[in-house]
């Protein structure tokens, strides 16, 4: 049941005119006859609109920095910001020495009114000193929250002074929540500093094993990264670092030694991928480890990149074995899921990635979109030159890296690179739009009003989104699947993850609990009897 532009216009017609004008640019009805449909993205949410978006701090500390397990992440601000990013995202991590894993800890300067009035720099410095004394971590990050920028605390200089006092890296991130228009600004801020200060900050010049790779934009939610690495290691890859799921400061420093960078979440980490290519000559490959076919394709593309016969053979062997193991189970679940229709609205890459997995279960994605993506995540990187910076994006500093004259190394000859680019997404991402069906809906920054309206019109069987939507949708009798946190399940990535996902989605459909919504007395008369013709006997 495809929607028409007219129906979308009807939905938006009920909105105030300014909102209507704004929102109409963020919604597309996919039209395969128009190859270059333009969508507006990464622009401000209008105040009062109930959006799912968060802030720059959430993108910086919550998404990118938080999973780095062997660093201590101090949040400089009132208590809430650190508290809400504490254990809420399901980015798993383990360390050989458990006392070096700080993922279950939460550090805040807990700014009080006097700190707002007189400045919080001293308190921040004292907190760093205390953390050093008690925990002695390898490195520390400082993340700024809204008031920090406003009162002018110079966290950069506090960080530099602490580096001198303690002889470790203390990285300061000016990721105040009001910067940019969503979490996306925070990703960029985090990427810049990790690239500038951590990656390559090591005397190691070479990875210890061949086929060395980094996995970028994989946050190990529910153990995703572990499932991906299981297969990669078996095939023969050496994973130098993961950015940043189960990630570590120590491994991040070695990231320059990889021969290829995989990009899972394009939105949150493409900045680092690009900078690594400029600085060290390491190309990146867009991968998608969600779904069986996408995983297999990503593995094959990797093998093609390296062009090694053993690697290619091993890749095929592993794919064959894994598929043979999981396909019978997927087939069982497919019987439950087949013919269903989904909405898939997630952050900045999963709105695209999960569509393949849904399709493998026989589920069609009729509406998709991203919470905080940019136009290139929808339309592909070819539109990058046409995206004009606005006042919000200009506030995020650009890091200009240059070729590292000593470490830059050409990984591919220009001829091979060109040949590969024709076949595999090497340093390229084609975006979500291209994979959507004709007549399906693409929505940027979907809001509550539109959620209700699109559900009313399109009647999906499952709604894949986040916690804030979940119970809204379920109250309508429609199962909702959290794709940010996986509803406390997972992993969903890789071959094993596909089975978990199929199991969980099938469970949502098959659960008998949905059958009790209508009480029996609603459709049965109170009195049971017959009405005699001609009145009472």
């Amino acid at each position: 049941m495809a929607m028409t532009e007219k129906e979308v216009a009807e939905i938006l017609g009920k909105l105030p005119s300014k909102v209507q004008k704004n929102r109409s640019k963020h919604i597309l009805v996919k039209d395969c006859s128009q190859p270059d449909q333009v969508i507006e993205a990464n622009t401000r949410t209008i105040p009062g609109i109930i959006t799912n978006r968060g802030c720059a701090y959430a993108g910086c500390k919550g998404v990118v920095l938080g999973p780095l397990k062997d660093m201590i992440h101090i949040v400089h601000g009132p208590i809430g910001c650190s508290y809400y990013a504490w254990g809420t995202r399901r980015n798993k991590g383990r360390t050989e020495d458990p006392s070096e894993n700080f993922l279950n800890y939460c550090f805040s300067t807990d700014m009080q009114e006097k700190d707002i009035v007189f400045g919080g720099e001293k308190k921040l410095a004292a907190t760093i000193d205390e953390v050093m004394k008690i925990f002695n971590p390898k490195a520390i990050t400082i993340s700024a929250t809204c008031p920090v920028g406003l009162i002018g605390d110079d966290i950069q200089s506090v960080g530099r002074a602490a580096e001198e006092r303690h002889g470790i890296q203390v990285l300061a991130f000016n990721c105040e929540g009001y910067k940019g228009v969503s979490q996306s600004a925070g990703h960029h801020i985090a990427n810049n500093i990790l690239m500038d200060k951590v990656i390559g900050n090591s005397t190691e010049e070479k990875a210890p094993k061949p086929f060395a790779i980094n996995i970028l934009g994989e946050y190990n939610i529910g153990g995703d990264s572990w499932e991906i690495e299981r297969v990669l290691k078996e095939i023969g890859y050496h994973v130098v670092s993961v950015m940043t799921g189960d990630g570590s400061y120590e491994e991040l420093r070695l990231a320059h030694t990889a021969q290829l960078n995989l990009v899972q979440c394009h939105r949150s980490i493409n900045y680092i991928a690009e900078m690594l290519e400029t600085k060290y000559g390491t190309p990146w490959l867009k991968v998608n480890f969600i779904g069986i076919n996408s995983t297999a394709e990503s593995l094959r593309n990797m093998a093609q990149y390296f062009g090694d016969e053993t690697l290619i053979r091993k890749t095929e062997e592993v794919i064959l074995r894994e598929q043979a193991t999981i396909q019978p189970r997927i087939d069982q679940y497919r019987k439950i899921c087949d013919g269903k229709r989904a909405f898939c609205f997630v952050g900045g890459s999963r709105g695209h990635h999960y569509q393949g997995l849904f399709a493998e279960l026989g589920i069609e994605t009729v509406l998709a979109g991203y919470e905080f993506a940019h136009r290139d995540d929808y339309e592909g990187r070819s539109v990058l030159p046409t995206i004009k910076p606005d006042s919000d994006s200009k506030n995020i500093p650009e890091l200009h890296v240059e070729r590292d004259t000593e470490r830059y190394c050409v990984k591919l000859t220009p001829e091979i690179a060109e040949e590969l680019r024709a076949k595999i997404p090497l340093s390229n991402y084609k975006g979500l739009n291209i994979d959507m069906q004709d007549g399906s809906i693409i929505v940027d920054d979907l809001n509550h009003y539109e959620t209700e309206e699109f559900i009313r019109l399109l009647k999906p069987d499952i709604f894949a989104s986040g916690i804030k939507d979940k119970y809204v949708v379920q109250k309508m009798g429609i199962p909702a699947k959290q794709i940010h946190s996986y509803d406390y399940s997972g992993p969903y990535a890789g071959f094993g993850g596909a089975v978990n996902f199929a199991r969980d989605v099938s469970m949502a459909f098959a659960s008998p609990t949905w059958n009790y919504i209508i009480p029996p007395w609603h459709d049965q008369p109170l009195l049971d009897g017959q009405i005699n013709e001609g009145g009472a006997a």
Partner: protein, 462 residues
């Protein structure tokens, strides 16, 4: 688990928190505002605040938590958020059509000094619709302070004294408790045939039934006419002084409604005090059914005292809940040896002083002398437990990490509980709530005894 936490306690003077036992004001304000019928809470700050608060409340209640935001950008932060709030007010009423918008501030809008009353006055809004506000700077107090401030704002904005003689009715200010608790408090008042207005009242909002259709504004919540009438009630009972006494005190000043502050009615003594206060003020006999419930509770307490008597317990969480739970654990013959809240106690005006004194008084009356701290964090609590182990830990979900690290049985109580369900529907207040707490406490202790028992000591009857 938490392997980096050393046993040795070094004095910390930075003022920084490690593993906090509180969060910031706005989430409390958002929760309180949801207790008004057809009200949309509005967060005047960056989008992240609203998103985080909705996420957290949703995970605790497993129900929709609707709220809007002023979506500050850098420009708004520099030039003030007035334009954003005015746009938001216009859009919220046009698109989401609440009757009331409850605006709370954030550290951002407080730091730049947005003047909310003026902005609201200048805002365009449809006839008959209402916008009110509470100042909830995140850098003061805790989520409990925010809850208190929003509840107080309901009084300052809406309560009116319109009659010469007060009406035979009690205002019940329940504090930061679950909708299941609010229902139970109202049930007790109804059993005693005493009319009441509860505010805020999230029952029917955050424990709304599954009907197959989504209602943005569910049936529950105190209505504006009811809020107005609180000024004509005969009495206000503030249940929990940190979350509720400010509103009751303000109502006393504004409308001359006498205010009594009681503990949150968790446990037998606090419930008795609540029932006695109602009985005394309204000269209503305690009905047989309620006395029967109390008798059942005491029956359970005496019959099972050997399950928990003498057990050492650590209790943490929000101050009102913790104080009442300490009192109840003493009634059960348990020994609270570590008691901690993250909410600062003392600096915030009349009703808020002296959490530590209150707890120490309770403990010393029982001949005990434990660790007590307000404005504390869970790192401190964990170190205390490492130095003086306990048989049981009671607190919100964050306690599970300590419980695992130290292998201590754990009972979940308070906010937030993110890893178990149903808790928000069932009470811990009243006599029934006390029975439920005993079931949880006994169950946790006996499960541990069973787990650790040798086969020959593993008992059928306990």
């Amino acid at each position: 688990m938490l392997d980096a936490t050393p046993k040795k306690i070094v004095e910390r003077t930075s003022g920084g928190m490690i593993n906090p036992a509180k969060t910031c004001q706005p989430i409390g304000a958002m929760y309180a505002a949801l207790g008004i019928h057809r009200c949309l809470p509005h967060s005047h700050g960056s989008q992240g605040c609203c998103s985080y608060h909705r996420m957290h409340l949703t995970r605790h209640f497993r129900d929709p938590v609707m709220a809007s935001t002023s979506s500050f950008t850098e420009g708004a932060s520099v030039f003030g958020g007035g334009a954003n709030l005015k746009t938001a007010i216009k859009n919220v009423f046009e698109i989401y059509d609440p009757d009331v918008m409850a605006v709370h501030t954030t550290c951002l809008s407080e730091t730049i000094g947005d003047d909310l009353p003026t902005i609201i006055k200048q805002a365009e809004m449809p006839e008959g619709k209402v916008v009110f506000h509470a100042n909830t700077p995140s850098y003061q107090g805790s989520h409990i302070t925010g809850f208190s401030n929003m509840t107080k704002a309901m009084v300052t904005y809406f309560s009116e004294s319109t009659l010469l003689e007060k009406e035979d009715r009690v205002n019940l200010i329940p504090g930061f408790v679950n909708p299941g608790d609010m229902r139970e408090i109202k049930r007790i008042a109804a059993m005693m045939e005493i009319p009441c207005i509860m505010f805020p009242d999230t029952s029917g909002v955050l424990d709304s039934p599954m009907t197959g259709s989504f209602q943005m504004y569910p049936e529950g919540g105190v209505t504006l006419p009811e809020l107005k009438k609180t000024g004509d009630s005969k009495l206000s009972l503030a249940l929990g002084r940190f979350a509720s006494s400010d509103a009751a005190g303000t109502l006393e000043k504004k409308c001359k409604v006498p205010a009594i502050t009681l503990r949150t009615p968790i446990g037998i003594k606090a419930t008795d005090a609540f029932v006695m206060a109602l009985r005394g003020a309204f000269a209503m006999e305690v009905p047989r059914e309620l006395e029967e419930e109390r008798g059942q509770l005491v029956d359970i307490m005496t019959d099972t005292h050997f399950h928990f008597h003498g057990k050492k317990v650590a209790i943490f969480g929000d101050p009102d809940i913790v104080a009442a739970m300490v009192e109840f654990s003493l009634s059960l013959g348990m020994q609270p040896v570590h008691v901690l809240t993250g909410t600062p106690g003392g600096a915030l005006g009349s009703g808020m002083a002296g959490f530590e004194e209150e707890i120490k008084e309770l403990l010393s009356a029982a001949g005990l002398n434990g660790n007590v701290k307000s404005a504390g964090d869970l790192f401190t609590l964990h170190q205390w437990i490492k130095n003086e182990p306990v048989d049981l830990l009671i607190g919100n979900t964050y306690g599970k990490f300590i419980a695992r690290a130290e292998d201590v049985p754990f009972v979940r109580l308070g906010f937030p509980i993110l890893d178990r369900s149903v808790h928000s529907y069932l009470p811990v207040v009243g006599y029934h709530g006390a029975m439920r707490l005993i079931e949880m406490i006994s169950g946790a202790l006996l499960d541990r005894q069973d787990r650790d028992a040798a086969d020959e000591d593993f008992e059928l009857v306990m």
